[in-house]
Structure formats: structure tokens, C-alpha cells
């Protein structure tokens, strides 16, 4: 299990940030290589993420679900469950957002197996950290 913490700035009010984070159609493409395949309902989307590693790429397909939300506290957890389409591995994560005026924080708990995990947990954490930092810069412009 890899756990990571990040903060982000949007310069926008908490209400706006709340709506943006819970809009799966908008937030999933903020992950580099992320795409909504089908929005089943406002709280559940089928999605995929294609992670390019130079010539190689890995595609994870699965779901992104709003697992919990507390509008008063501006806290929400997005749950990602996905499988590597080219192997037997999976990438699951709980991404907890805590939002306020101007931005918020993200706490990520991720579990990755298969080929990607064969790089070692330290490398996975470094890549995931870079992916989430990239995500937060896109989130700033959402």
C-alpha cells in the first residue's frame, strides 16, 4: 500500500471546488491518460487510464466511484478499482479530498500489483507522486 498526501490550489470558492471534484466527467480527464468510458450515474463511472512509459504503455480499466461524501465538511472519497488490460495486475485507490476556499488537500491510498508493481514500491510511489502532482496542476485549471 502506498500512501501519499498532496495539496492543491484552484483560487476558487469551496462550493466550486466541491462541484468540480464530484463531477466525474470533469475530474477523471484531469488524470493524465484518464478517460471516462461511460457515466453510469453521477456517482459512478466506467473509466480507463493509459499510462505511457515511453514506448510501452499500460492501460487500466475499471470504475471510479464516489464512495463517500460529506457536503457540510467538504470531504469526499473517490474509489478507483481497475485492472491492467494487458496482464493480471490491478490498481486500486481511495482518493480522499478535503476542500476549502482556494483549493484543498488529497490523501491517496493506493494498492498496485502486477507488472507496474514489479518496479518496486519506492518507484511506484515516486511515479504516483508525479502523477498526482500533474493531476493537481490540471485540477487548478478545472
Amino acid at each position: 500500500m502506498v500512501e501519499l498526501d498532496h495539496s492543491f490550489s484552484t483560487g476558487k470558492p469551496a462550493d466550486y471546488n466541491w462541484d468540480a471534484v464530484l463531477d466525474l466527467d470533469r475530474i477523471i480527464p484531469c488524470v493524465e491518460g484518464g478517460k471516462v468510458l461511460e457515466l453510469e450515474n453521477p456517482d459512478l463511472a466506467k473509466a480507463e487510464i493509459k499510462v505511457k512509459m515511453g514506448a510501452m504503455s499500460m492501460t487500466f480499466k475499471g470504475t471510479v466511484e464516489v464512495a463517500s461524501k460529506d457536503e457540510a465538511e467538504r470531504r469526499a472519497v473517490l474509489r478507483v478499482k481497475s485492472k491492467d488490460t494487458g496482464g493480471s495486475g490491478y490498481a486500486n485507490a481511495d482518493v480522499a479530498f478535503s476542500l476549502n476556499d482556494g483549493g484543498g488537500t488529497i490523501h491517496t491510498e493506493a494498492k498496485i500489483t502486477g507488472k507496474a508493481a514489479s518496479m518496486g514500491e519506492g518507484v511506484v510511489a515516486t511515479v504516483l507522486d508525479a502523477l498526482i502532482k500533474d493531476f493537481t496542476t490540471k485540477l487548478a485549471a478545472i
Binding site: M53, M56, V127, L131
Partner: protein, 168 residues
Amino acid sequence: MTTLGPENGTLTVRTGKGGAAAKAGHNLVIEVGRWQGSLTPDAVELNADARSMRVVSGSGGISPLGEEERNGIARTIDEEVLKGGNIFYRSRAVTAREGGYDVEGELDLLGVTRPLSFALSVDGDHLTGSAQVKQTDWRMKPYSALFGTLKVADVVEVSIDATLPKGS
């Protein structure tokens, strides 16, 4: 003058990898498909077609390189790295020594010209040599992926292995 090219030799580029996720990448062996060199006792010239790179093999990585991936790398080299730019070497001085030559000159790589020296060895009709090219010296940004955590090593090795035509 001795003329060299794919018909009597191979021009190969070897790349390494770096960055935190280096383990995910491959060390590549890339062959230049179209090139022409000329060699006289006091001058060496070489011209390579940047659009003719072919990935021959890759080692390392978390899974083997297939044909699709090798073609993908060649496309990436073409579209994002060399972009069909100039690759031209011209010597300034060639010094003969036992078993070969020491060559000093300049490499024009994608419009930036910088000094580059290397040694050529000759054994009978067999010519070999290699040069280290540090991409950033030619203002190239080494290719990177995975949000910068996987990078092509700055220094690449370019080598030639040729059979000298009879009578040269």
C-alpha cells in the same frame, strides 16, 4: 577515398536510461538505416538520415519490447526527438596511429554544431569506432516519460562497424 554506408557497415546508436523509474525503461540499440560516410587519410565525413532510425533491440524494462513497441519508439524518435533534423559530421584533423586514426571534428546535430572527437580502429579490412554524444551539449533535451521519472540517459553511444571495400 573510401565510401561507407549500410551496404558495407552498420551505424548504431546505443541509449541508456535514468530517473527514479529507470527500471521501467529499456536500454536501446538503434540502427541508422540510411547514412553515408567517406574516409581519406586526412578527412572523415558522415551524413545520417534522422528519419531512418530502426530499433533493433531493447534490454531491461518490466516487459519485453515487441515489434509494435519498437516501431512506436522509432515513431517517437522521428516525431519528438530528431524531427528529421540534420546529422552531419566533418573532421578538422585526422591523425594516423598504429591500428587506426584519431579523429577530431565537429558534429552538426539538429542545427547545433559542437566539437566531437573519437578513435577509429582498422584491423585488416575491418573498421570500428565509437563516440559518446552528450545530448545536452547539443541543446537536446533527453526524452523523458512517466512525468519525468523515466529518462533516456544524456550520453548516447554512436558506433560504426564496417568492412572496408577492397582496394581502399
